[in-house]
Amino acid sequence: MGYSPLYFLEQTFKNIVRGKGMDLVSVLVLMSCLLVSGSFYAVNENINYNLESLGALNKILAYIDEEMTDEQIRQIKEEVEGLENVKSVDLISKEQALEDEKNRLGEEYADIFDWLEEGENPYRASLEVEYLSTDGVEELEKALGEIDGVESVQSRANTAQKVSELKKAVSKVFLAMMALLFLVSLFIIVTTVKLALHQRSKEISVMRYVGASALFISIPFLLEGLLIGGLAAVIAFAVQHWIYGAVAAQVGKEFFGIISILPADELSNALLIGFLVIGLATGLVGSIFAVIKRITD
């Protein structure tokens, strides 16, 4: 058999050249779709990251009175562990609290605590209480507040719930937009490949009459779809990376200390793989839709 990959690539490029820019339009539309999806993913990941870093997910912070000794703190912890609806309790010492904050702010702001005297620490020890169910949070908060030695209780259950509801609503809008954009992308890819099929109808008819297999006839068109999807994915990734970097820098500046932004590198792998999988799958499915009738009729 003399089927050569180079032959198929040559035919695919012929399709693209004869496509009169339709392939470029397909790449741009699919790229836009991927950008919307990627932005949605990045926003979602950052919300989760912030909620986690705020300790707002299923957690209550109970700050301990400064006067308490280590032994008293241990006793308070035991008492808290005995409360209803408590899953776990972690003690965060004042030293650890200071260290955590330094880590959170990063090296750029490492000198922010330089004004502290040696051994001075503005933070208090706290108990990080993870609860089992949101239903009994209010009771748990009250019980914690009543314990001797607990100075204050900070719960972000309400905030977490509101953010979670907002996330759900935003997700619905994004998902609807994504579905619509994917349908449009699919339609444009189908049209592009159909145009290529139409322009090569004479060649296809001769190939079919001489007994070329359905796969042999289809491969250049399937490759065309894959190329559209792959190109859209790579370009979308590059654009997304650049936009994310710019937005992250701006948000970091404007909302310093309020909102934490995930480093771009932490999202890169998932975004690239996701874009490639979605892009290639859309391109392939689109070209299969276009080709299937032509080769089976």
Binding site: G2, K202, E203, Y209, V210, G211, A212, S213, F216
Partner: protein, 226 residues
């Protein structure tokens, strides 16, 4: 062998394009299928190529029932058939050599085989010197011979020519039929579909006549002349 067993083809509910047609064509035969325009000749060709399926009856070629052919077996079946189009269907941007190579490459022929076979094919159709010409540089008769060389390229068992003389002058038409006759003598089964009765009469071959979807005559002209 090709066998039509009570074949009917309906494109709509009311008018059959072919009705209850039965015929046999033995291996190595040369057969003309004649009939007026709209008689059902093209439908018969389409059925043979399995471009369309019979509504009733069976078509069996080399022991294979055509209605059973699927996506993977149909291409293999079609490799047994070399088809010659009335409009030649040559690619203007390709040379004669490339036009024939195209058909060979489509079924997986390697470069060596293509390089070895094409000069032989061009010799059969008497176009050895025109391999690098483009179709637009050839006469109608020459173009049809290129189409015939392409049909022969994958060494098919059957050659089906649909109105092969429709777009060429009488002299070239006679030459083409003579060439097809020579190919038949090489062991190929040749079926020529035509409406040109005068041309058919001179070649002394089997002639199947179709009229309004019915097989109305099946005779051997040379036998009648004797």
């Amino acid at each position: 062998m090709i066998e039509f067993k009570n074949v009917t083809k309906m494109y709509d509910r009311h008018t059959p394009a072919l009705e209850n047609v039965s015929l046999k064509i033995e291996d190595g035969e040369f057969v003309f299928i004649v009939g007026e325009s709209g008689a059902g000749k093209t439908t018969l060709t389409k059925l043979l190529l399995r471009q369309t399926r019979a509504s009733k009856g069976d078509i069996v070629v080399d022991g294979k029932r055509l209605k059973r052919l699927g996506l993977f077996t149909l291409p293999r079946y079609r490799r047994k058939i070399g088809f010659v189009f009335q409009d030649f269907r040559l690619f203007d941007q390709m040379t004669v050599y490339e036009n024939i190579a195209f058909a060979m490459r489509a079924v997986g022929a390697g470069r060596k085989r293509i390089r070895r076979s094409i000069p032989l094919l061009l010799k059969i159709v008497d176009l050895e010197t025109k391999a690098e010409r483009f179709p637009s540089e050839l006469s109608g008769g020459e173009q049809q011979r290129v189409a015939l060389a392409r049909a022969l390229a994958n060494n098919p068992k059957y050659i089906i020519a649909d109105e092969p003389t429709g777009n060429i002058d009488e002299k070239h038409a006679r030459e083409l039929i003579a060439l097809l006759s020579k190919i038949s003598e090489m062991g190929k089964t040749v079926i020529v579909v035509t409406h040109e009765k005068a041309l058919v009469e001179d070649f002394g071959k089997r002639v199947i006549t179709i009229s309004r979807g019915h097989l109305v005559a099946d005779r051997h002209i040379s036998q009648e002349k004797e």
